[in-house]
């Protein structure tokens, strides 16, 4: 397959993830949309790396995957904390800055 096929696929997945992030009210749902977008970026990295014959893109993908895992762990910890203090899962209800 050509490089542009991979890039188009990544663009489609990114836009679907963006749609999910924009439409969901639930914080966990927003997190799932962000996962999809990060995934699309990883596809781009690997495709460019493979087609240019440089392994740097794959190293970047490895970093991106690890950082995403840390992000999900922290995000879900915040979601659980929100549930404990505010009894809500909706991002719309999270509009205060004071602890």
């Amino acid at each position: 397959m050509s490089l542009s096929a991979y890039l188009t696929l990544a663009a489609v997945v990114f836009c679907i993830g963006l749609f999910g992030t924009m439409t969901r009210r639930n914080t966990v749902g927003i997190l799932l949309g962000i996962e999809l977008m990060l995934n699309a970026v990883n596809i781009n990295f690997v495709a460019f790396s493979r087609f240019r014959g440089i392994e740097t893109g794959m190293v970047f993908t490895l970093f991106a995957i690890c950082i995403t895992v840390a992000e999900v762990a922290l995000g879900l910890a915040i979601v659980i904390l929100l549930f404990r203090t505010r009894r809500t899962a909706s991002a719309d209800h999270v509009d205060w800055l004071k602890g």
């Binding site: 397959m1 490089l3 542009s4 096929a5 991979y6 890039l7 188009t8 696929l9 663009a11 489609v12 997945v13 836009c15 679907i16 993830g17 963006l18 749609f19 999910g20 924009m22 439409t23 969901r24 009210r25 639930n26 966990v28 749902g29 997190l31 799932l32 949309g33 999809l36 995934n39 990883n42 596809i43 690997v46 790396s49 493979r50 240019r52 014959g53 392994e55 740097t56 794959m58 190293v59 993908t61 490895l62 995957i65 690890c66 950082i67 995403t68 895992v69 840390a70 999900v72 762990a73 922290l74 879900l76 910890a77 979601v79 659980i80 549930f83 404990r84 009894r87 899962a89 909706s90």
Partner: protein
């Protein structure tokens, strides 16, 4: 020639699975089903990595994402539902506006791809990609690699601090 047909078929199979499961993630009503669809999307991304000869990344993707992240998300949903004592609502809002914005962004991206005309020839696989990744992780990218370990420790500590039991 037969190999080419197999490769193209594998790509299209993975691509269609990925796009359909991604749509199911963002359009589904049930949050739990969305998470399971996300698992399918992540596994088909791993298959896409396989079509790009990145076996190591495919394995990392399945282990970390489809294994770790999905488990954590399912765990979080179960815990929060138990805390609240009711099912999580998973409604969407501003669907039309968001669809228009995303379709416009997609059109811009595809148009830019066509204009840029990125038709690099696919080079033959230059040896073992896994060993190349390992070599550059421990030589050129040794410092970021160590910082990553630090980040994971900080993330672990912060997550357990946030989720600590109430005094």
């Amino acid at each position: 020639m037969t190999l080419d047909v197999v490769a193209i078929g594998a790509f299209w199979l993975c691509a269609v699975t990925l796009v359909c499961s991604a749509l199911a993630v963002v359009l589904g009503k049930n949050l739990f089903h969305s998470v399971l669809w996300l698992a399918l999307a992540l596994v088909s991304t791993a298959a896409i990595f396989l079509t790009l000869d990145a076996e190591f990344l495919a394995a990392v993707q399945v282990l970390l994402y489809a294994g770790g992240v999905i488990t954590v998300v399912v765990f979080a949903i179960v815990v929060t539902e138990r805390l609240v004592g009711e099912r999580l609502s998973h409604v969407s809002r501003r669907v039309v506006t968001s669809a228009v914005v995303c379709a416009a962004l997609l059109a811009v991206l595809v148009r830019a791809l066509n204009l840029a005309n990125v038709s690099l020839p696919r080079p033959a696989a230059a040896g073992d990609l896994t060993s190349q990744i390992g070599t550059s992780l421990l030589t050129r990218y040794a410092l970021p690699f160590e910082l990553l370990a630090l980040l994971l420790v900080v993330g672990l500590l912060a997550a357990s601090y946030f989720a600590r039991p109430e005094d």
